[in-house]
Symmetry: D2
Subunit: 188 residues, 4 copies
């Protein structure tokens, strides 16, 4: 049994769709439940109640959306100060318009969120290369969706299926790690 | 002649003091002026009017303060989309409580801001090791102030003089690069 | 039962001492063993045989020592290509002369190693703030030792005890996570 | 007049081709010359003699090739220690097989090299979004070439023209910044 909290911001629903796919992946693991909250809704108690925290964001100027950062500053910083969530599990995902063929800054974006998760003391789950959908939507730090092509033209039908697939796989992986570590005293 | 815009957020005035020291450094260069704005005041037109943009932030959970990110998302993203400030000059600085002896995430914090400046097409000014104050307050990406010791106890008198010195030096360097590049067609 | 492989390079024994402290931490967990290899000795089979891989390096110009990178390029790249170690556990540590009061590039150094571990598909263990020795020798990504002061003068007696303590704690944490995940099918 | 030194490693000539394109860009600026050296040939004196240093690498496991790092450790570290190249100009580029649609770690790879350049005190030149070829081969930190598709199948004809174009543009930009700053006392 594990509860995975997914906190995200979204502009044009690309990140929302990834969040939903990730939640499906979580719930495909027996006994696991996913809880989706926008960065504006989520509070510290949501994190305390969960076994895993996943952060998702559109890529904006090579970093997370300011609303995700506001959630971190206002709700996670206190958890860090009090060592309240050490030993839970964490992961990230991102979605970009992705101008250019190299992810448009998605790597530093994911690392900016992972840095917060590392400070909180969470065990971090990467996205292995052999995950379903990786060739289209994978980065080692987590799934990367994009609803636009390299030249910024929109992809017909929105987020491609392979990219949603990578997000589902990530949700599944995170749920399993959370389950394996739940109730174990790892740190301290 | 060059105008350097310094955009910052501050909690307990540590970052503000660094910003003021940086502004002094800018104005020590003949013909250069500094303009200080909080991240909540600054708008795109301020960036357009300046020759250089410097971003400063407290270190919060290994990344910039959400108010600085909001400024970037709401005022810089449009400048990026329109290629409006390509070839100007950029730099960063940060201030942390700094728990632990390794900067508490200041390096990724500075890189998160530099990523935005790189996307805008700004020529980036580092802080060389031989800068005044570097041994106390330097990181290769910019000055790093802290008003607390490694164990989070406050440093008496606030920001130490050496750290302000590194910020002054950084302001001076950025003003000089901005002056050297002003009016030159570098890109395109 | 878990075996933790520690691969490191060392110049003046600072990183070696951290590696030894980390190994002590591993072996303080019942049923866990540590294996130390220099980056020049270690080969792919060592990684295959272990449950966890820990990389340690001196900080050189803001990145890992070239010998550690050579180990990654020549022995880990093939493991990545073949998805051979997905689901094992990973962690990092670093040691710097540390000019300047902000870690001298230790954060990007650790991330450069973590990037390799993430690509291999390893579950990553951070160093929580409440770890013993953190105030002296902790960074969220792993323990950071330094045998020199901020002004590059040597610390008498070499690596301070608190810094070794953080490394021991990290070893203990990594061993426990490896034990908790051993034999579990997490990914795929 | 400015001399730009390009130091690179190459496996299957992808990075070499980018280096050559970058050199063409440099030499398209009147009075500027490019010098290409492999990471195994280049020495500290080459850097001392140049006005700008550009580092290029294949992307291997999310970081630069070990030969580039060996060049940095053995030839650049001394330049850093002696503050010998402060105020010169720097830039980077990378080439990847690029499994997955997000650059396969190219961003941290470029940052690992930029970290060295920042420590040396070089003024850093990004690649603006409006550069020729950016939609195919651009990242904010520099040009990113790839001779394989997202699924690792080879691109017919090798490095696509648009990617070489981004590299040429980067060479041109770096040469111009080097020319504008040559002989100016910026730092100190």
């Amino acid at each position: 049994m594990a509860e995975v909290l997914i906190v995200y911001a979204t502009d044009h629903k690309g990140t929302l769709r990834l969040a939903e796919a990730l939640a499906q992946g979580v719930e495909s693991v027996q006994g696991c439940t996913a809880k989706l909250k926008t960065a504006e809704e989520a509070v510290a108690d949501d994190v305390l109640a969960a076994d895993a925290l996943v952060l998702g964001t559109p890529v904006h100027m090579g970093c997370m959306d300011w609303r995700v950062k506001k959630f971190i500053d206002q709700h996670c910083a206190g958890l860090w100060m009090g060592d309240k969530v050490v030993g839970k599990v964490g992961g990230v995902f991102a979605c970009g318009s992705g101008y250019g063929g190299a992810g448009g800054g998605c790597e530093l974006t994911m690392l900016a969120m992972l840095n917060n998760l590392a400070e909180l003391g969470l065990v971090l789950v990467p996205l292995p290369k052999n995950s379903l959908g990786y060739a289209q939507g994978g980065l080692q730090w987590g799934p990367y969706g994009r609803a636009h092509n390299e030249d910024l033209s929109p992809i017909e039908g929105g987020l491609p299926a392979e990219r949603a697939q990578a997000a589902r796989q990530h949700g599944k992986n995170i749920a399993r790690v959370a389950q394996a570590l739940a109730g174990k005293a790892i740190f301290g």
